[in-house]
């Protein structure tokens, strides 16, 4: 063997890109943002007011009933949406997909509209479940379409997804228009955490649980990201792993949609940034995607709350702007690397 490579030309590099320093920094950033998020708002909730106790407990009440739930929901939604994007990208083997570019979100929205029409008084559990089932159908339809139309160009895959979403969205809008529910539809399509309160946000924890599921099955998702042939060779049941991934994506999409509404681009941008930093090994990527997703959402929510203080603008607007810029940067960067 020694004859094959007499002189290795490159110097030894570490086995895994770790970036410990950056990891600590991002973690601290998330903690700082989360604390800041607790104390931003119209009512005076600050460490001082909490400790002095002269506001007859209003500050403490607001903290527990509104600010903590909101911050927790933001962190969980941000983390899980990033993971949904990551898993989706592994399932489709395409970097440009996430629930909102594959029709999954539109299907889930259609599900929500359906429950509002058919069972108006349905509890949030039921709504989430129906939306998740519709999201699952959406994932399935998308995967079928992508398989049936073998698109060679990577960018065409999300285009197919966006078209699919457009069709489903049109159906949803038609029924919403006919049934006078356009306003509800508008509300769902604008992600905002303004309505998050104790007792009305707990379903994001399900999305959080899906992050754990994704983490447990991380290696399996990495392997199916290599393709069906690789996965089969390594003794993995490709279809089963894809099915688990579809459930993870659908449940996260539905839980966030029901709690806050549509938050675009996040599932696309965060995994791509992490891919550039540390690569696509899912086990290594998951903590990064989760924390960076949370950082992005909490930061954007703070901007949404302060830019027109004391009013709020929808979070989805801020995330959309930031996400679009990041996405363009990623696209141009990819082009420059001749991909």
């Amino acid at each position: 063997m020694t004859a094959l490579h007499p002189q290795p030309t490159s110097t030894s590099t570490p086995a895994r890109p770790r970036r410990t320093g950056a990891g600590v920094l991002v973690g601290v950033l998330l903690a700082v943002l989360a604390v800041a998020s607790l104390f931003i708002g119209v009512s005076d909730v600050s460490p001082v007011s909490l400790l002095s106790g002269d506001s007859d407990g209003t500050a403490a009440f607001l903290l527990v009933a509104s600010r903590i739930p909101r911050t927790v929901a933001l962190v969980l939604a941000g983390a899980s949406l990033g993971i949904a994007g990551l898993i989706m990208q592994m399932l489709v083997r395409n970097k440009f997909v996430e629930p909102s570019t594959t029709g999954v979100t539109e299907f889930a929205t259609l599900g929500m509209l359906g429950t509002t029409v058919v069972v108006p008084g349905m509890a949030v559990v039921g709504k989430t479940a129906v939306a998740a089932v519709f999201g699952l159908v959406g994932t399935w339809v998308f995967l079928r379409v992508v398989r049936a139309v073998p698109v060679r160009q990577l960018v065409l895959v999300p285009l197919v997804g966006i078209m699919l979403g457009g069709v489903v969205g049109a159906v949803t809008t038609f029924f919403a228009y006919r049934l006078d529910l356009l306003q509800s539809l508008m509300q769902w399509s604008q992600g905002s955490f303004a309505g998050v309160m104790q007792g009305r946000y707990e379903f994001v924890w399900i999305a959080g649980a899906m992050v754990v599921v994704a983490w447990v099955a991380a290696d399996r998702f990495s392997v199916i990201g290599l393709g069906e042939e690789f996965a089969t060779n390594l003794g993995l049941d490709f279809r089963r792993v894809v099915a688990v991934g579809m459930v993870v994506v659908a449940v996260i999409t539905a839980a966030v949609l029901v709690t806050a509404g549509l938050i675009p681009f996040l599932g696309l941008v965060v995994p791509n940034v992490v891919s550039l930093l540390i690569g696509d090994n899912v086990r290594r990527a998951i903590p990064w995607v989760a924390v960076l997703g949370a950082v992005l959402v909490v930061a954007c929510d703070i901007v949404a709350r302060t830019v027109r203080f004391p009013y709020e603008i929808p979070l989805s607007v801020v995330v959309g702007v930031v996400g679009a810029v990041l996405f363009l940067w990623l696209l141009l960067r990819r082009r420059s690397r001749a991909h």
Binding site: L4, S10, A15, R16, N94, F230, G235, R283
Partner: protein, 252 residues
């Protein structure tokens, strides 16, 4: 032993593999040759449980491929398909680590790590282990895939056109490696090759396919005859003896 018994596969009415009965595993290196569309890759797909046969049975060490658990088979048989286009940004180390998946299911033991280190050392990839696959040259990438297959630690290794897109030096390098895997590590390698001279030089046995059937199956030297090769490829092939080795001339 990998055994195919009367295996047939049809795609849309067209028979791609036609009632093939053959076994692999007696020799160190077996080369599978034949023109495009002869059914070589489909044959690999049938053995590697990616393609279901329309008739017949495929067994690996007596285990029916159709009914045995995929994980069990993955510990006996490794298949490397052609065109391993991996879109994911994985490092060489990541890839080799996935080779242990049939054994570890993602939880690496000390023994797993030893296998990984040995495979990386064997393919002299230590300097590149932290590199992403898209940062490697074609030859390095092919070595990384073979390291993954080595880490899988199977008796049988199926390589589908491992020389695709490689230059002369890297082709020779990979074939030498295939030979060593058989001689030093006791692997049973079956590999699809387009260059019959590589097959003649490095394989113990050559199996030739044409139109879904096995048309020749013999020690390498016996297949390297003008009339046999002409029948396989449907074109005139001259075979000369150079330094005691048969060399096929098919450059027109």
């Amino acid at each position: 032993m990998i055994a195919l018994e009367g295996v047939t596969k049809r795609y849309a009415g067209q028979t791609v593999v036609d009632d093939v009965s053959i076994s692999f595993g007696g020799e160190g290196v077996t080369a599978l040759i034949g023109p495009n569309g002869a059914g070589k890759s489909t044959l690999f797909g049938l053995v590697g449980r990616l393609v279901r046969p329309d008739a017949g049975r495929v067994t690996v060490d007596g285990l029916d491929v159709a009914t045995t658990s995929s994980q069990e088979l993955a510990r006996r048989l490794a298949v490397l398909r052609q065109d391993n286009h991996v879109a994911a940004r994985l490092t060489v180390h990541d890839l080799v680590e996935f080779g242990r998946f049939p054994h570890s299911r993602g939880r690496l033991t000390v023994a797993d790590r030893e296998h990984i280190e040995r495979a990386i050392a064997y393919l002299e990839l230590d300097a590149y282990r932290g590199r992403f696959l898209d940062e490697l040259s074609g030859g390095q990438r092919q070595r990384a895939f073979i390291a993954m297959v080595l880490a899988q630690d199977t008796e049988y290794v199926l390589l589908d056109e491992p020389l695709n897109n490689l230059d002369l030096r890297h082709m020779t390098e990979i074939m030498r490696l295939v030979r060593e895997m058989a001689d030093q590590l006791g692997k049973r390698v079956v590999t699809v090759l387009h260059d019959v001279n590589f097959a003649a030089t490095y394989a113990d046995r050559i199996v030739a396919m044409r139109e879904g059937r096995v048309v020749a199956d013999a020690p390498a030297r016996e297949v390297m005859r003008p009339e046999v090769l002409a029948a396989v490829y449907d074109t005139t092939v001259d075979v000369r003896e150079i330094d005691g080795r048969p060399v096929a001339l098919y450059y027109g």
